[in-house]
Structure formats: structure tokens, C-alpha cells
Symmetry: C2
Subunit: 352 residues, 2 copies
């Protein structure tokens, strides 16, 4: 046991979701497999905004959100072999699972029906989990990922959720050299999809409606950028992509038939984001020209997280981020909501 204090920036009212107060909280109880981590950085995820505004339903209040957590291990449970004090680690959007079901046994723990979210969920002992806009988190070792020496903790923090959420499906689909991959929406998730896609050697085509992001997309490694505000934007790469990740987070802004039309036969349109509303209705006929699929995912598994961090280390992937003091979290969540961030806010510890 360390002498870590658990304190964080909490929202107390979803109508005042940019107002944060510092509160003390009790983390999940210690187990043989838990790791206590001193938080150094925490990214701000779109999920935090969905949760704090009540878009995904009424949260437990007061709530400390944040699930792109990077820090240093301070103490470990009796059964922890994987980590030791001083290790540099990240924790993402999922913090626990049953460990026993078919999914947990075959490296699909991110689909365990008893999965526990990193904040706003009931932990194994009934406590409500609290996130990384805080001094410290306690996490079972299965959901803690070691950061390679040459990867900065501030870069690694947003990889824990935004990075893994796009890398997971890319890994399962088998993106590699020779894959023609699309990325629709160039925000926090989308920018990681471009970075990782390029790092894997794929030919990446970015779709954005924001002209001011075009130059950035090329710098991140895109082979081509399509401005969806232009007429006939869906013609140039029609029926040619193998895989297209949409990270567009507003339902009505997802042009399902047009995105699907970019895919070659049996290609996959993968929807990473989880908007507040249903996706626009479509007819099966509209997907029949190429027999494509629409797929979704829930973050990624530990196997995928470790593969992602290895790629980031080997290919020197750098997160495009703005580091701000943790006390400015209110401005940060507002900036995410307003789509002002380029491309991820990372909060730096100031409570310790």
C-alpha cells in the first residue's frame, strides 16, 4: 500500500458540466491483482463530454471522469507480477472484467458482459469508479499497459482510449502494407487512425469537412485527403478502399451510403464513435453495390493495446496534443464539445 491520496476534479451537475470542483474519493478496494498508479497526465475524451453532459444518460454525481490515464506505479497487490513500483503505465476506458467468461479467456476481455468502465461504473466492491482527472487510480493489472521507454507519457495517455479504440479494429481487420484505408473525421480518434495506419504502411485516405485540417492530415501521413464539403467528394475513391474507419461523433453527420460507396467488394465501414443518437436509417440496397459491412467495436483488448504501444515505439508515433494544466479541465471539455482541439487535450497533473 502506498500513501497515495485519491482526489480529483469532479462535476456535480450535468447542467454545469464545465464546472469542476476538487473532491476526495474512495477508489475500488485493494485486491491481489490491483495496481496503484500516481496520475501524471490524463487525456480528455469525447466520452467524457457525452457522460458529463448526460448525453449517454444520467451519471453518478459527483463524478471524476477521464480514462486516458498515464502515470507511474506506486504500489502493487500481492499477486501482481507484471508491474513494479516506478513502472510507467497507462489505463484506458475499461478497468475490470470477470476474468472467467469465454471472452475473458480468449483475449476479448473488452467484450466481457461484466466489464467495468474506468469511471461512472460499479466496481467489484460496489464503489463507483472515478477517473483520471485526479491524483491517482487503482486498477487490476489486466487493464494496465506498460509504456515503452521511448514513448512519452503525455503522448501515451490519449492512446489508452482514443488510440486503442481505432487501433483495436485496425488490428482485427489486419491493416498492413497494401491496405487502402479510409479515415472519416479527423478529431482525436481520427488522427490516431491516420498515424497508426501510416505507421503500419497502409495507404490512408482522410475524409474531412474541415479545410483547415487538410494540411495536418498530410503531415500525419495521409496519402490523400478528401474534402467532404466539396461536390462529388465520393467519386474519386469510389469502390476502392478495403477498410474505412468513421470517427464522426454526430449521428446525422455520418453519410452512411456515401462512405460505404468508397469500399471495394466486401469492404468494411467501421464506426468507432458512439453518438448520442441512432445512426441515420439506410436501406440494405444502398450497401449492395459492393456487399460491404458496417461494424463497431468497444475499445480494444490488452493484446491490442500492447501491439499498439509496440508500434508507437518502433515507428516513433507522436500524438498531436495540447498539454494544459488539470485545473483547466473545464475549458478543455468545452473545447472538445466545440471541436476546437487539435487533436487531443492532455491534462497535466497539478493536484499532487
Amino acid at each position: 500500500m502506498s500513501d497515495l491520496k485519491f482526489r480529483g476534479y469532479a462535476v456535480k451537475d450535468t447542467n454545469k458540466w464545465t464546472e469542476f470542483d476538487v473532491v476526495d474519493f474512495e477508489p475500488m478496494g485493494v485486491r491481489d491483482d490491483t495496481v496503484d498508479i500516481e496520475v501524471e497526465f490524463c487525456g480528455i475524451c469525447g466520452s467524457d463530454v457525452h457522460t458529463l453532459t448526460g448525453g449517454w444518460g444520467a451519471p453518478h454525481l459527483p463524478l471524476v471522469s477521464g480514462h486516458e490515464i498515464a502515470g507511474t506505479v506506486r504500489s502493487v497487490g500481492a499477486g501482481v507480477k507484471e508491474f513494479k513500483q516506478g513502472d510507467r503505465v497507462i489505463v484506458g476506458a475499461q478497468i475490470d472484467a470477470c476474468g472467467k467468461c469465454r471472452q475473458c479467456q480468449d483475449d476479448n476481455e473488452n467484450y466481457c458482459p461484466k466489464q467495468v468502465d474506468t469511471y461512472n461504473a460499479e466496481a467489484w466492491d460496489g464503489k463507483i469508479t472515478q477517473g483520471g482527472y485526479s491524483t491517482a487510480v487503482r486498477a487490476p493489472q489486466k487493464f494496465v499497459f506498460k509504456v515503452p521507454d521511448n514513448v512519452d507519457l503525455a503522448d501515451a495517455a490519449p492512446m489508452a482510449c482514443a488510440g486503442l479504440t481505432v487501433y483495436g479494429p485496425m488490428h482485427r481487420f489486419g491493416v498492413k502494407k497494401g491496405t487502402k484505408m479510409g479515415v472519416a473525421g479527423l478529431g482525436g480518434l481520427g488522427h490516431f487512425a491516420v498515424l497508426f495506419g501510416a505507421a503500419l504502411g497502409a495507404e490512408v485516405v482522410v475524409y474531412t469537412h474541415q479545410e483547415d485540417k487538410v494540411a495536418d492530415a498530410y503531415k500525419m501521413g495521409a496519402a490523400d485527403v478528401v474534402l467532404t464539403s466539396e461536390k462529388d467528394w465520393d467519386k474519386k475513391h469510389s469502390m476502392s478502399l478495403n477498410f474505412l474507419i468513421s470517427t464522426i461523433d454526430v449521428s446525422k453527420a455520418i453519410p452512411i451510403p456515401e462512405l460505404a460507396s468508397q469500399l471495394y467488394v466486401n469492404g468494411v465501414l467501421h464506426l468507432c464513435a458512439m453518438p448520442d443518437d441512432p445512426i441515420p436509417p439506410f436501406q440494405t440496397q444502398q450497401l449492395a453495390a459492393n456487399g460491404c459491412s458496417i461494424s463497431v467495436n468497444h475499445v480494444g483488448s490488452k493484446v491490442e493495446a500492447e501491439a499498439m504501444l509496440k508500434l508507437a515505439s518502433e515507428k516513433n508515433v507522436k500524438t498531436w496534443k495540447e498539454v494544459i494544466p488539470m485545473k483547466d479541465v473545464g475549458k478543455g471539455v468545452q473545447g472538445v464539445k466545440n471541436n476546437e482541439v487539435r487533436y487531443r487535450y492532455v491534462l497535466k497533473q497539478d493536484l499532487a
Copy 2:
């Protein structure tokens, strides 16, 4: 050139879609690669009803529909090596393609952008294609499939569309022994999915709301049948299927989230039918519990058609059908619309 007459049962008004008159028609012009086929049987497909009623838009009238065609080759073009007079063959829903594009070159001719439907479409010479409720059809050899000796022509006819439409995706997904496969909706398509699934050695679970079909499903080879009219029908096989084919042809009757919930991690919900309306809107969150996909297809390729017919021959697959005289086609289409058919009407030639 044979002395075949091209005459068929045609609808002249979508408001009178059960009234058929015998008309003469001109088929597509002869090419080096065309085959003239004397029609012996033609299945009635749900597509015929969608087209004749105007559900898929206003058709060219008068229209001879029918794209589950079985018959005997009477003559072949100068370049045809694959067929000779007297061969027993079938023709399905697609009758031509460009032969040159990437899709045509890699056995995805069913996704050629210049694909030509067997009826109600513009042929290479501008003629409107007419279907198999008729004495004869002319088809390029690429879209003619040879029927194995031990398969009856009346059984083979509905395989040309209903069979191939479900077998195609099963083939691409790799259904085999060890696959746990669902079939939702036990009509013409669904019954083939059960028959072929069982023939491939898969464990087939049928979902139907019709109690009077349960015994049939078991006889077709289902391992289990779930009555979707019962409470909590989606609990028993929750999160366990690898692949689920929905053949439900009415949009609002497709319970997307409940069907998706039957799938194990990364399973595929495949929508074979093409209802008149968009599928019910859903949230990506509703598919996130297992990270599944929703996919569609447009019939199947020749490679798949030949694999299907080989399977039918080797495993002695028998179509469940009601053979009726071709002149009763009006009662037939009404019976399909009313969901009275068990499980396919096959029209027997009476015009020749």
C-alpha cells in the same frame, strides 16, 4: 440459332400485379457468348413481388419477371465452349456484366457496376430484359450454371436466386463444421440457408415467429428453433453465434439489436433480404457488446453458384417446393406476398 419462341406471362399494370397476360417479347441480341435456353421451370422470388407491385420503383411494362430459371440449352453462340445443346442449366437474378472491370476479373462479377438484372433492366443492346415466366431466355454463358446430373431441375430452379443469395455469403464467411449459424426468417431464402448450413455441417439455429414452421425447420436440419413470438427469445443463444443470416423481408420486422445480441464477439449479422423500406435505426452502442458487423450482399458469383450446386449434388439437398402450372403465376405471387408458400413456388412450363 434455335427456333425458340420467346413468350411469357407479363404484368401490364403494377396495380394489377396478380394479372398476367401472355405476350411475345424480344430477348437481348445474340452474341458469341450467349446461350439460348428452353425454360422448363421458374421459381417465384420475393423480388418478383417487390418489382411487380412497384415496391422497388416503377418497372418497365409489360414485364415478364422470374429469375429462378431452369431449363435445357437449345443453341449456343460461336464462342461458347462451356455449354452444348441438351445441357441442363439454371439462370439466376443477374444475366450480364461488363467482363472487364476489377470485380469481373476477380470473381466478383455480381458487384460489376454494369451488372444487368435478368428482367426489368437494359441489356447490352438496349432491349429490356424479360425473365423466366416464359418459354425461353437468352443469357451470356458466364451467367448460366450447369446442373449436376443428380439434381432435379425443379429443385435447381429456386437455387438460382434464393439459394445463391444465401449460399454466396455463407461461402464468403466460410460456414463449415464448427460454425454456429443462425437463420432468421424461414421463407424461401431461409429454408435454403438451413438446408445448405446443415449440408456444410454447421450447427444451425432457426429464428421464426411462426409456430407452424418449427417442425419443418427441424426436418430441414436445424439443431434448434427459437420462436421469436415468445418472451425472452433472445436469451438462450445470446452471444454464441458466429454468423446469422436474416432473410426477413419486412424492414420493421427485423429486430436488429436482438439479432445482433445472438452473436459472439466479432460475429456477423448478414441481411440477405432487400425490403422496400430502410432498416430500423439503431445506435452503434447497441452493437458494441460484441463488436459485431452488419453486412449485405448482392446474389452470388459464378464460383459460388458452382460450389452450391456441387454441395447440393454431394449432400443430396432437396428444395422444399410446390410445383404449380405456369399459368397459375397470379396465385403464386399472391401466395408469396401473403407468406403462404412452403417454401418456394416453382412454375412448370405450360406455354411451349
